[in-house]
């Protein structure tokens, strides 16, 4: 959204292929159209040529109806106000009333005040727009990591052992045959964990054991994780006690576990 609201043409939302009626953008109302017409015609707001403006207002209203725009009640209220003011302008001033209360009031006055009031708020909206633009151009220290906001619980050795026991149990239950040989080294698994954590900040502890083909693989992976925790390269946490364990990149000064 950009541009000066005071200068924008009344915009109509494009007709949607399925829609039968369309809605005017919430920003545009009858007062906006009047201000637009007054500016376009470059007329003095204190001396609005009411007949001309009324005619143009009604033309726009017709156009909106032709386009199947759902013309809300306030548009019709304004149309009748304009027609009323126009007819009052045509009437000669009542000499009796003039004697009582001095010169007759211009029938346009109330409308003018309403328009000026509306223009003031459009200007105020413009001021807020500018302020927001400035505020969007400043940063404050980012809030701490979402991770820490989640009230992380540190993991005890017992939690880790319990999680590992479950991994082994699941492996034993699923495995059909154990493929012997093809040994994996501690260094290889440590490198793999580091590699995975480069791509993602946080990984579920149990997912490191997915696709394991031997108990040896499980044990080496487990030792690799423990080794990385010891060297503070990774840390383990839970969102609450006894919950799933997550593995995250270590933070040198605040590593958990």
């Amino acid at each position: 959204m950009d541009g000066d609201p005071n200068k924008s043409d009344p915009q109509v939302e494009p007709v949607e292929s399925t829609g039968i009626t369309i809605r005017l953008d919430g920003f545009e109302g009858p007062l906006d159209l009047l201000l637009y017409l007054i500016k376009r015609e470059e007329v003095d707001i204190w001396n609005i040529p009411i007949a001309r403006i009324t005619e143009q207002y009604l033309e726009y209203l017709e156009m909106m109806k032709d386009l199947n725009i759902n013309v809300a009640g306030e548009w019709l209220v304004m149309a009748s106000t304009l027609i009323y003011v126009k007819s009052r302008m045509l009437l000669p001033p009542d000499p009796a009333a003039a004697e009582e209360s001095g010169p007759a009031e211009d029938p346009r006055t109330e409308l003018v005040y309403q328009l000026l009031e509306h223009q003031k708020f459009k200007n105020a909206a413009q001021m807020l727009y500018t302020r927001e633009e400035v505020e969007n151009a400043v940063w404050q220290k980012p809030p701490k990591d979402a991770l820490e906001d989640e009230e992380v619980v540190s993991v005890t050795l017992f939690d880790v052992l319990k999680a590992f026991r479950e991994v082994v149990k699941r492996f034993d239950a699923q495995r059909a045959i154990e493929i012997a040989g093809e040994e994996v080294s501690l260094e290889e698994r440590m490198a793999e964990v580091r590699r995975l954590l480069l791509a993602r900040d946080t990984i579920l502890f149990s997912s490191f054991f997915d696709g394991a083909r031997s108990r040896q693989y499980l044990i080496v992976t487990f030792l690799a994780l423990l080794e990385l925790v010891r060297s503070r390269e990774v840390w383990l946490y839970q969102k609450q006690a006894f919950d799933e364990i997550y593995v995250s990149k270590g933070k040198s000064e605040e590593g958990g576990a």
């Binding site: 959204m1 609201p5 920003f27 003095d44 001021m127 807020l128 302020r131 940063w139 220290k141």
Partner: protein
């Protein structure tokens, strides 16, 4: 404690704070120090810090103080962060917000009268974004809900308090100029 001792501590607290730091919060940390002293230390910090004309500023926002980058460096910061500008409020929302800010507490019917069009969806957006809050009910028939701007509004627009907004008369002059 000496004011000169207090100043760097306040600076450190303002740096770590996620929200504008209010004097009342500082008073809790320094119960032995008077409000006057805390306020003087804050004023001294703001003066010294902002006089440096560095990349950061300490600004008075929503009844507190907050450390932010200076707006003039936004292009470089954005290039570094590789982020796009934030989503902006629609003009309909801004106009509704202007009515709430200057006429608060205000009812939906009063907003409609000023804007000359339905404003409920714009108001809903503002409530969802917590820029506007419910400030009770008007003691008239039907007891309509009254709306007012929130603390989040002050933060969003970088205002110290609501009186920092230009007065409505200033917009009258503008409206006159634009005839």
């Amino acid at each position: 404690m000496d004011i000169d001792e207090l100043v760097p501590i306040l600076e450190a607290i303002i740096y770590v704070a996620d929200d504008p730091v209010r004097p009342e919060q500082l008073k809790e940390i320094f119960p032995d120090e008077s409000y006057d002293k805390i306020e003087s230390a804050l004023a001294k910090l703001l003066g010294e810090f902002n006089e440096r004309r560095g990349g950061m500023a300490i600004r008075e926002i929503a009844g507190g103080v907050r450390m932010t980058t200076r707006p003039e460096y936004h292009e470089h910061i954005r290039a570094y962060l590789k982020t796009k500008p934030n989503a902006r409020l629609s003009l309909a929302a801004l106009e509704t917000l202007a009515v709430v800010a200057y006429r608060q507490p205000v009812t939906l019917a009063e907003i409609l009268a000023i804007r000359g069009k339905k404003s409920s969806s714009a108001l809903k957006t503002l409530l969802e974004k917590k820029l506007v809050t419910i400030a009770g009910r008007k003691q008239v028939v039907g007891r309509p809900i009254l709306y007012a701007t929130s603390r989040e509004f002050l933060i969003h627009f970088g205002l110290k308090d609501i009186s920092e907004l230009p007065t409505m008369e200033e917009f009258t002059e503008l409206a006159g100029e634009q005839q």
